[in-house]
Symmetry: C2
Subunit: 324 residues, 2 copies
């Protein structure tokens, strides 16, 4: 089988691709373990370092002709991770609509034209929630986003359900917690600080925390997110049923707890590199997101969270081979 990963130039897409390479196979629709013959990554940019075993396609998600080329008859799984992130979609409404909504639709339409029905794994977001949610969000809470990114993600979820119902594709949409710790540089996501306050100090660099110490956030490590994406793909369609959308398990942690855990693991000098500099805009965005979830459906389907913030930090240190 062939696999397509959009956003393959990003950190998550790259990590997913390497994990798929490592596994070498995926469970297909018939429940059989099938060898992956090709992994194609689509993105507008790629990092310099490339893997020989991967196929890189530089291009735009809104280029329908290109999508029809790279979604082939042998494409059995599409991981659609590409998107304009929360801050980006808020700053440039039209760009967000074009990439996050129209681009997703173009990709789904490319899948729809294939004789076989590809599995379609979509990275949605807890930014789907913004207004009127209870202190603990369970699987029955209505998504009412307070940002364009979330609104676009929810629209895609509804289209994925409908495309799946019609047999155009076999969709699975995961509302991802904030991914912590992201390696590399800060990005435009308003939750970017949540990785920054761990990553930068571990690199010996000062990090600005724009939210208060007691500001909670719902997080999942990159390793667990990649596992969840692959698990979502491998679950049989019947396990999903009509509703192809779920909230992933995660961990609730405040900025203060994260920095305290960092101090315990890497020492107070490292943790002391975090500077508390409130930013009202980011604080308001983060305050609009749910902090606690009850993810019964995801857990019953076998999705799992991290053990806690300490294990998340230790995994990052191990992944990045950081010497303390």
């Amino acid at each position: 089988m062939q696999v397509l990963v959009t956003g393959g130039g990003g950190f998550l897409g790259g990590r997913l691709a390497r994990e798929l390479l490592r596994r070498g196979c995926l469970t297909d629709a018939a429940g059989k373990t099938v060898e992956i013959s090709r992994i194609t990554l689509l993105d507008i940019n790629f990092p310099e370092r490339k893997e020989q075993a991967l196929t890189y396609v530089q291009g735009d998600l809104t280029d329908a002709r290109l999508l029809e080329e790279i979604v082939g008859e042998e494409t059995a799984a599409v991981f659609h991770l590409a998107s304009v992130v929360s801050g980006g979609a808020e700053a440039d409404f039209e760009l967000g609509m074009r990439v996050n909504l129209d681009g997703t639709r173009a990709l789904m339409d490319a899948c729809r034209k294939r004789a076989r029905t590809p599995r379609f794994v979509f990275s949605s977001s807890v930014a789907a929630f913004g207004h009127g949610f209870p202190p603990v969000v369970d699987d029955r809470v209505v998504a009412l986003p307070l940002n364009s990114y979330g609104a676009q993600k929810v629209c895609c979820e509804y289209l994925i359900n409908d495309y799946s119902r019609r047999g155009f594709l076999d969709g699975r949409a995961l509302r991802l917690p904030t991914i912590v710790v992201r390696p590399g540089k800060p990005n435009l996501a308003k939750s970017s600080y949540a990785s920054g306050i761990i990553r930068e100090p571990l690199n010996g660099v000062a990090a600005r925390c724009p939210v208060s110490r007691d500001t909670g956030i719902w997080i999942l490590s990159p390793g667990k997110v990649v596992d969840a994406l692959i698990h979502a793909c491998e679950l049989p369609a019947a396990a999903w049923g009509v509703n192809r959308v779920l909230n992933l398990p995660g961990t609730t942690v405040t900025a203060g707890e994260a920095v305290d855990a960092l101090a315990r693991i890497a020492g107070p000098a490292v943790a002391g590199l975090v500077e508390w500099q409130p930013d009202a805009d980011i604080q308001a965005f983060i305050d609009s997101l749910p902090v606690r979830f009850r993810t019964e459906r995801a857990e019953s389907l076998g999705f799992v969270a991290d053990a806690g913030i300490e294990s998340i930090i230790r995994d990052y240190i191990a992944d990045q081979a950081i010497r303390l």
Copy 2:
């Protein structure tokens, strides 16, 4: 102020336009009663009989250039009723997407380009609900449609919330019950029978009922729908808050109850014109819709239902000047 009604060639759009003409004014964003200087109706087709006081524009909802022409700087209210109905959007997926989703978006984008922020009243549908709803649907139930029409309507709801939040327009989306009694001919809506079993017998014509006698449906009369659309438009933005979507009040009635009420009002010979001819496809579609709602939010905002099926039938007889 100027008003635009899409789907203005349809029965509901026409009725709304005549009611707006009759009233002659609307409450504006400042809470003032303002005279309506022009009512423009957009549709792909219009009935022969036209009102001199109305402006008719024949054209397609997906024609962005036309939309920019007819949404003028003086347009203070847009009633967006045009859509490909449930059966149509299921039969022709691309047409449904193009009109129901892209067309709505094009209309919203035309509003967005105006300096003033038009009120934007959208006819959504109870077809938003299909999977996993409880016996009584309240304001906290997640919409999970089981048809493309419903999925497209829900996507529009999310976009209306986001466009409203961003100040691009001042949106209000009403999930309409099935409208009973629709005058005229049957249409492609799978719920078309619900009007047919009352309308056809009153015209002395046999009517086929494709669902069982005990099949319930959630209905609202055309008069109450028009009142609701205008009320939705006139409510201040603050009354709506962040969530611009609500389920309208209605009446639960089974096909058997409707025909029994018809017999009481028009006699058993008229009611005897209903033929019970099951259609598995229509039965399945109707069974997928909720029958009972608790519409607290709508009621607290002043939306009202009919007194019951008898008053709905009597209103129809009076509207159409039918002699029994």
